[in-house]
Symmetry: D2
Subunit: 434 residues, 4 copies
């Protein structure tokens, strides 16, 4: 379902049933993602950046409670006032969040309690959505839409975090054992697609549907002419970098990246292991041989940047990527998203004259630091902490990945991670001066 | 059941059924301790020193597998070879143990898997115990006895760790809600019991039944005359120390202790919180008001030492404690152990002319560093790592506590923790020069 | 002296004497800066980012040895081969640098040895500059020019580091006691200067004289219309932020900044101390009362960003700053540089219709992350490590400061520091949407 | 000079000139030790445990100022009140000490200032010692004696710290270049000397001359029969341990020691380096080949303990060592002390029937944790912090070393360091059960 700008502005015209169906569909999707888990899997925090799956399920629920039910539903009663502390992620103006690195010390509320919390909030939300108070209906619908996108974002985080949790375990448990690898086809020679210089409009126009605050406002950027690769870098190509000593040649690396390589003893992408001379990697389907034709994934910005330098190329800026993505996709974004069921990037056979896999498969590191666009304004109130306060120390990634819900992505969508992070499904596409 | 020296030396005379009953009784006790837990509680590692309950259950089982079944039962097949890595605690000569601080990242094997592992090993152990190969029977029985004491030790650790895990949680969940506090009776004025100077025999005589290697050999020590308090320090007494500025007066503290106070911002024993001017503490029965008459518990050696200095006294040496305990107890050790069901130290009313509560209630910090006795020999082979290698950086505690199984303690029993540790049920008893 | 592009390209036309004079002038300036130091001051490394003054003096000398004398002067003999290890800062492709955080453990070479090293290299450089081998003359002159700019950069670092070193000392020793504070005049109300939208050329044209590689190439950027403050933020203005609770309101801060505030307990700019209700700050002239009219200095990017948010404004992008600086300055950069002898920002009285203090006084934090311009190429070989490899995790500052040599600055000059760094002479100027 | 108990008790009978000579002799010895230093060497703190030499010179001076001049010399004026903060090492009840790990950030007071401080205090001390106020004379003399022993202790620390400072430097500068290695003679086979079981008096009798508080009171200990090696372990012997894989066999190590080996990547004693298959070590005379016959030095307690286990022996207890030392030495302690001018342990040729090198050469690790003797009392007031508060986490060493002043050592002297420390001149002597 796509919500047109008119509907957004005049929610009274929106069919109630459609909103409800959407709410229920997305809420159920989160729970479906967790079906393959054991109770124990829900509890683990494998590193500070990872949250226990049950925390994710509770936090996205808290979002609806804190920002919609408590302010707009006077009859609403919370199950436990401590939840407001436990499941606040980082909203400092709302209250003191429970310390992030301690999320893995919480055995209670139990998984069953969390599902009860979800049902409790869902019941109240359904009631509210069926007859929203007219004076708040517009604001409620805005927050519902934000809350649903927020939940979809956490669906991807759930898969990233589950993968990281299971990967720590010497038993190598798969998340699902019914995932079959995609057929491995050679993607063909990399081709370069030209883009002329000129002034381009970048960013999301709020009149045309939902986007996060950080995607706007629309503004002009001048782009010098550039060339963009027709597909992401593959495992085979990345392996050539490894075999050429990529991880031991300081001249290929940013200074911070080189320090990171040494400290963490990086020798390959995250989840790669070598056994008897063969490279394997841990996937959501368990340990598999690395598919040479699939896009490389779980590389940091530092590795992406070093690879590009080694290849005599560079990473695209986020504006370059956005221009190419709009040209390639129009308004239709095909790709290997979570719905395809691979949960792993797959090889593709692009033509030499069109960019492929811009959406799905792997988030593509850009060369752009995550900073506000000219004229950027955060949302009012506590929700202003959603995106804006993270605009330092991070790099932008674009395009979604094999764990992203298909209707969650946009050409203007700005994802961001610190340059050393690797547990996202992150890969890269090369760019060059024209 | 108490095993006489003769039985130990000639296991063939031991009734098989008695051994089996003992094995089963102690193994079942571990599982009974875990009955009040939710599945989620089994998974948490709240600090590096704490292990997830399911890890405890699996590790004590691995002990029987690794040291008895694998060497002495050729037909035995392990459920998963990785368990030998996951559940090896610290036996470096056996294999590379899974890193201790990462135990909380293991969602698998699940709790159900761990119980299956226990059943699998128990079945094999029962079979072995029913008809041990005669040429190995003596060694097998020695290791069974060690393994059962090892499991009892972990029963106490389970309660310590469960308490620590639950205490992290702002929901303050109790381990059991059917624990009723003991009646609080004033213990009366502290009295001093005199002990004359002289040569004393210290340590356990291996001819008289089981003991850990670190309790022997028997050797002579000369003790100058000393006086020992007739009971442990109470919460009311410790509160007087707090109120006299005990935590802010450097002259009362060892240098390392003072540094620890500052770094960790200690202002009271572990688990104490002040609400509206009243002191509460977290217990296995949930948050309770501090009982002034009960022995203070969850203090570190540093706090015990500072309290003693403040009180114009000192901690007893472990030899002094042992001499007093033998005089007081003979061979019968009464006390508030795990079987009493309090799971918390309780007030007692000692007479002024006899030492009370030497056993049970709280482990009593001594002033003795944990070092080998003259002539100490570790067990042969990998089991030599059981105790000896920890003989640096730790202090000795004596007497057991409210979480110790009654038949696990001895007058010669040497427990040990680093001087800053507080999550054991540790308290203190004062001593003085005569 | 300004070197025209023609001279750069055809160094044979450059008067040898002029080059020599320049070399000697800049080399002597470094030593003159160190004259007020005691021998002991030369040795200290007060934090990892700071280098001992004698290390600076030796490192800039090593630069000439390693990149000019060794490759181009066959007769040159180094004083000690270990110096090539000790004084290599971060050129990984040249050799393994001595670890930066250990520079403060080197008592030898002594200060006298370092001056001998300088004289030794200077003698060889003078000889080389008097008769450079014609086939290498162009490259030599390019590297001399780079080496001299490098040394000027370190002259500013010397003052920053000396200030930091002396500030650690409870004796509060001044660097010089002959520095008199500038007269404190109120700078008048802040005024906003408009800049229209349009395509602008940004960056340095290599045809027009020396610049670092990171300042080029010239490229086009589209700037939306913006307004820029006519002067930097003053101490009085920053004090209003402090008094309005600026350091305790999370909604004003980037997330990383807020964490930093908490960890480091920031409550004011670096070097500020409150005594009897008055604010003082440590300066190179010792402890002084804070001048309300002077620009605030020693604030981090995080503080600058939080101040701007509090003030309802933002930081300018580096392109906006550059456009304004070119309009304001033409080719002439006046300002409070190191030559003015204040060694501290001073108050100014700008007109309301022109930007003042763009150059000198304080480096101005921009909102731009330090990343390469489109088409950026590093210098060939080891010198390529000079700038490019630091292009992650840092923010750009513009305009030079009271410790910068006047002939070292340019409108295109890109300085950079991590967002938490405060020991540079860093301040801010506000910008706004038009 | 040896001060008899009578003199100590009745200082009025002590010849003033003798006291003055002693004061001046010891004070001058400190300065003489520093003569080979460059000014820069005085400033360095190469690790947290090391203090800059000028800090040592000032701190021992502060001791006389703070504990004698300020309380007993009303006319005394300090040079700078901040010195009392800077040069207080750890006396928390005296004031807040300047943080130890920051001592290396202090360029001021300069070396010359420190010598001025010494002269200033010396002048006042001389004046006081020439005519002490009779009512305080006894206490003054007690404190002078303590202050002089304190200064001698720091003379050894000076040499340890200077060695560590110079050893960090890739230039490998020697402290003195006029130190000639002692002739290397094979010490002969190790022999075991028997000691019968019995009650022994341990500790220093305060009636018989000066000792630190931690050496008393005299008390009885029962020692089981034991055997003690006739000499320390040599480099050749320790090399056999290394070559037998000593540093890679966990069964030889205490658990904390094994962890330390891994973390710090220990493969040999501190200061050892292998070049072309030969072992060298850094000495105060520069880098030298390891002398196989000399006692091994710069090993930690962990290494000493592991070596002893490998050799089928153990470390002596401090009581065992003291008994043997008293028998061997009577009241005369010969040995390789600082006065011998080697500043490095040297080989000796002991007879097989007497213990050699108990004093001097290397501090000998004992198996005893540093804890108070029965009846131990600290000095009254702030001086009580001198020794007692360090009685946790450390092990006792006995006998002095090649950097100890000969008249500073006693058979009862208890030195102590944490079990991982290696920068003292620490070695070991083996013991065994009889």
């Amino acid at each position: 379902m796509s919500l047109s700008a008119r509907q957004w502005e005049t929610p009274d015209t929106l069919h109630t049933k459609e909103w409800l169906r959407r709410y229920q569909r997305i809420r159920q999707a989160s729970e479906r993602l967790c079906q393959p888990l054991c109770t124990e899997d829900y509890v683990i925090q494998s590193m500070d950046d990872v949250s226990p799956p049950k925390w994710h399920l509770a936090h996205v629920t808290w979002f609806f409670e804190a920002f919609i039910l408590v302010p707009f539903q006077p009859r609403y009663r919370s199950l436990d006032p401590v939840y407001d502390h436990l499941f606040n992620s980082y909203y400092e103006t709302h209250g003191v969040p429970f310390p992030r690195p301690r999320r893995g010390t919480l055995s209670r509320p139990t998984v069953a309690d969390v599902y009860r919390f979800r049902a409790h909030v869902d019941a109240a939300m359904v009631e509210l959505l069926e007859s929203p108070p007219p004076e708040h209906a517009a604001e409620i619908m805005r927050r519902v839409e934000l809350g649903l996108h927020h939940e979809q974002q956490h669906q991807e985080l759930l898969l990233m975090d589950i993968k990281h949790i299971l990967a720590q375990n010497p038993l190598c448990p798969g998340y699902r054992d019914d995932l079959t690898p995609a057929p491995a086809e050679p993607p063909g020679e990399l081709a370069w697609l030209e883009h002329a210089a000129g002034i381009r409009e970048i960013g999301h126009d709020l009149q045309t549907g939902f986007a996060y605050d950080n995607e706007g406002p629309v503004h002009r950027q001048f782009l010098e002419a550039f060339r963009l690769a027709n597909r992401p870098v593959t495992n085979a190509e990345f392996l050539a970098f490894i075999e050429d000593g990529g991880y031991s040649r300081p001249e290929l690396w940013l200074s911070d990246g080189w320090q990171q390589v040494g400290q963490a003893d990086w020798q390959a992408p995250l989840y790669w292991v070598q056994r008897d001379g063969e490279w394997y990697h841990f996937t959501l389907g368990g340990l598999r041989r690395v598919d040479p034709h699939a896009p490389v994934v779980h590389v940091s910005f530092f590795e992406a940047d070093a690879y590009a330098r080694w290849a005599g190329a560079r990473l695209p800026s986020e504006a370059e990527w956005e221009v190419a993505a709009r040209e390639a996709a129009g308004n239709v974004m095909h790709g290997n998203f979570v719905e395809s069921g691979h949960l792993q990037p797959v090889a593709a056979s692009p033509g030499a004259d069109a960019a492929s896999q811009l959406f799905g498969d792997v988030w593509e590191w850009t060369g752009s630091a995550y900073r506000p666009y000219p004229g950027f304004r955060t949302l009012p109130g506590t929700l202003g902490e959603y995106n804006g306060k993270f605009m330092s120390g991070q790099m932008v990634l674009r395009g979604g990945c094999c764990a992203t819900p298909a209707d969650h992505i946009r050409a203007t969508y700005r994802n961001f991670f610190p340059p050393h992070a690797r547990w996202a499904f992150s890969g890269l596409r090369l760019a060059r001066e024209a």
